[in-house]
């Protein structure tokens, strides 16, 4: 058991625990905060995987932007949600069963998959970050999906602004 394995194990435990808290805690603000913990755990995993760019983006985009968005949303909708009633719906045991079944199914697949025990090759002398940058803008590679993704993002943002606009108040003016 080397150091990386230990780090992985601890990180994994953190991720599992915090993720469970995200889905179980009654307080929505807490749930959001637990989500941040989970996301940070995943960052550690990226680092272990030597995907440095992803790790950075995870922190900046997820922790920095998305999580904050959640907290804002929760704050905005909090008035009616003051911890009244259960946080889980009536069908939650069935949901749990399905989730377990999915997990079991995935494990079964992994069990039979030949790749499971593969170890990572060395990345010595490889400029993965440069390669990624090249891949994203090279016409031979992924420039089109990249651009499409950016357009999607733009459209989503405009759409979000439009949907969230308080039309009632607009017309009241």
């Amino acid at each position: 058991m080397d150091a990386s394995q230990i780090i992985f194990g601890l990180t994994a435990l953190l991720i599992i625990f915090s993720a469970l808290r995200v889905v179980t805690t009654r307080n929505m603000v807490h749930a959001a905060l637990w989500l941040i913990v989970t996301l940070l755990g995943v960052t550690v995993l990226y680092a272990l995987l030597q995907a440095n760019f992803l790790a950075v983006v995870q922190v900046v985009v997820y922790v920095g932007a998305i999580a904050i968005l959640f907290i804002f949303a929760i704050m905005l909708t909090r008035r009616e949600m003051r911890d009244g009633g259960p946080q889980l719906n009536k069908g939650w045991p069935l949901a749990a069963l399905i989730s377990l079944a999915v997990f079991g199914g995935l494990l079964a697949l992994l069990y039979n998959a030949p790749v499971s025990e593969r170890l990572a090759a060395s990345l010595e002398g490889q400029d993965t970050l440069g390669a990624l940058g090249q891949a994203l803008v090279s016409p031979d590679a992924y420039v089109l999906p990249f651009e499409v993704a950016s357009v999607l993002l733009l459209a989503a943002l405009i759409g979000a602004v439009y949907v969230a606009l308080n039309k009632k108040q607009e017309s009241d003016k």
């Binding site: 995200v22 995870q58 998305i66 949303a73 009616e80 889980l88 891949a135 989503a156 602004v161």
Partner: protein, 102 residues
Amino acid sequence: MIPLSWYLVLSALLFSIGLFGVLARRNAVAILLGIELMLNAVNINLASFWRYGNPAQMGGQVFAIVVFAVAAAEVAVGLALIISIYRRRKTVLAEEIDLMKW
């Protein structure tokens, strides 16, 4: 060294937890939180397959980045919808948002 299967098992577990959150939580924001968990599970998979496959091929990372973008878009639209609905109906409970039934 960490075998690939570790990452995969972890991601499967994270995915299932996120799925449970999506299926079981009453609060619509909480459902979105679950979705974020699931997306992160996917991203772990993508990154680890990149690392354990051919690191010269940047497809895995590129897909992960696309997932980031999609996640950001999804959260933005999703939360906007929730806020809009909340304004009109004063609720964020998924089970009460059932206008599109028969």
